[in-house]
Amino acid sequence: MTALLRPVLALGLLAALWQAVVWAAVVPERYFPPIATVVQAGMSMIARGQMQQALFDTGSRAILGAIAVNLIGIGLGLAATGAPSLRRILDTVAAILQPVPPAAVVPMAVFALGLGWKLYAFVVVLVTIWPPYLATVSALAATNPVLLSVGRMAGFGPVAMLWHIRLPAAMPEILAGVRYATTIALIAVIVSEMITGRDGIGFLLFQKAFAIRIPEVFALMFAVGLLGSAMGLAVSAVYRGFAGWHLAQRGRAA
């Protein structure tokens, strides 16, 4: 309940702040319209069905992408943990590829991948894979050594050790990486849509800017924020499922 209330509250706060900037007239109202205008613009996009469609397109891409990429990232992290030489290579490839901005990659990637889903997938993967990968690798490496000994005594091979000991112990940290990746999966999808999309929020953002519909551009940005918050709530639910013990344990007095 509070988890759902909180975004609403923060949204209110953001709106108040926004309106304060408008009143302060730092930026001409034309480029930074009052909140009421933005809401109205959003409403009219909803009335035309534009907003829902874009949210659906972008949302489904981002959610599917986030799921896939988090699984891949965690999987790579597991593999790298199993094979230290792979880890050494991946870590450095990560260090080299991570800072390459997607906006720089997309124009080149179009040559190789075209304009379809492959491009989206590539961009999302390239940008989003690192947080879950890095979190998985670092969390798995940090397993309490006593627990590892317990696992070895139980006769766990590497796989059982991962499954029964290292992975559950690492879950809180991994899910922090997953939460972050989920957010930037959304960014990656929107950036791709802006550059080569025919639909979705990214495309709409571009189209509205071309039509000089500034209130609608802002309304779309708010919508992106809400979509992001919703995805965050979904991750929280996963967290409670997989690492709820961690939260409960934290609450304990010493």
Binding site: P107, V110, F111, I195
Partner: protein, 298 residues
């Protein structure tokens, strides 16, 4: 019924394309045996990339990016043009200064901040050509890269002194009393006594060599739609609202008249731009019109 021929058309947003949107919506493409798939992308290079990667068969862009690409060995050719510029006032590019900048002519630009929407675009060519004609060099000004939608605010804020605008942004800037827009030059080239092509429909060499008939059919359908638009101002405004999402007020400012009813590219027109590009230093090596364009002789 005969199977429709699929044509993938990558484009960047422009008011000129109202005819293409209308041709598709009214079924003129279908009537010509074409199934045209419209693929919006952001920026000329992306159009080129879409063609080069085989994701699109034909594309729409300003003339500079495809010519640039050709010079780099990307096998694309111009085969249609939907608009021409010509002296004195048939122009689609404006160099506009804000009142606050104190710039009132090209000569004042020295040391000022001028905007282009991207390197290797029509705006860069326009600036280079006009400045050269005014006896100045491109490097005399401070060049800032800024997308079209942001230039109006930048002018108003004083972030830039002179912008490079196309429609509908030019109309919006002109109507903004805070800017007090002053046009210091117009047109892609300084000298447009002869008409100059202002945009281009392009295709890869491979596609064009096999689909000349398709290209012609495409052209006829577009011309049909364009003729209807030219004949009825109300239709233009309606299309601008429908396809470009412009507000009705903004749509009223649209200038949709054309200089030449023909859409096939004449080698002479292309050569003029090529020469200007070489003169401006954007193209390092001279190219021949015949190598970069096809005259469909419609």
């Amino acid at each position: 019924a005969e199977e429709l021929k699929k044509v993938r058309f990558a484009y960047l947003l422009s008011d000129t394309l109202l005819s293409v949107f209308r041709a598709k919506d009214q079924g003129y493409f279908a009537a010509a045996g074409l199934d045209v798939d419209l693929i919006p992308v952001q920026g000329g290079p992306a159009v080129i990339a879409a063609l080069a990667s085989g994701e699109a068969d034909i594309g729409y862009a300003a003339p500079v990016p495809p010519l640039n690409a050709r010079a780099q060995g990307v096998p694309v050719k111009l085969f249609l043009t939907l608009g021409h510029e010509a002296d004195p006032d048939r122009k689609y590019v404006w160099l506009v200064a804000s009142k606050a900048s104190g710039v009132s002519s090209l000569a004042d630009v020295k040391g000022k901040k001028i905007a282009i929407n991207g390197n290797g675009t029509g705006c860069e060519l326009a600036w280079r050509d006009h400045l050269a004609a005014a006896g100045l060099s491109y490097d005399d000004a401070e060049v800032v890269v800024l997308p079209f939608p942001q230039q109006e605010a930048a002018l108003e804020q004083g972030t830039i002194d002179v912008g490079c605008a196309i429609q509908p942004f030019y109309a919006s800037i002109s109507a903004n009393p805070e800017i007090g827009a002053k046009v210091i030059a117009r047109g892609l080239l300084a000298d447009e006594k002869e008409p100059v092509i202002s945009d281009s429909v392009i295709g890869t060499d491979a596609w064009l060599s096999e689909n000349e008939d398709t290209a012609k059919a495409f052209a006829h359908a577009v011309v049909k739609a364009r003729d209807e638009l030219l004949a009825n101002r109300a239709l233009v405004e309606e299309a601008a609202v429908t396809y470009l999402d412009l507000t009705p007020e903004l749509a009223k400012t649209l200038d949709y008249s054309v200089l030449k009813p023909e859409v096939d590219v004449k080698p002479g027109e292309v050569q003029r731009i090529l020469d200007a590009l070489v003169k401006a230093g954007i193209l390092k090596t001279p190219l021949k019109a015949a190598d970069v364009s096809i005259d469909l002789k419609l």
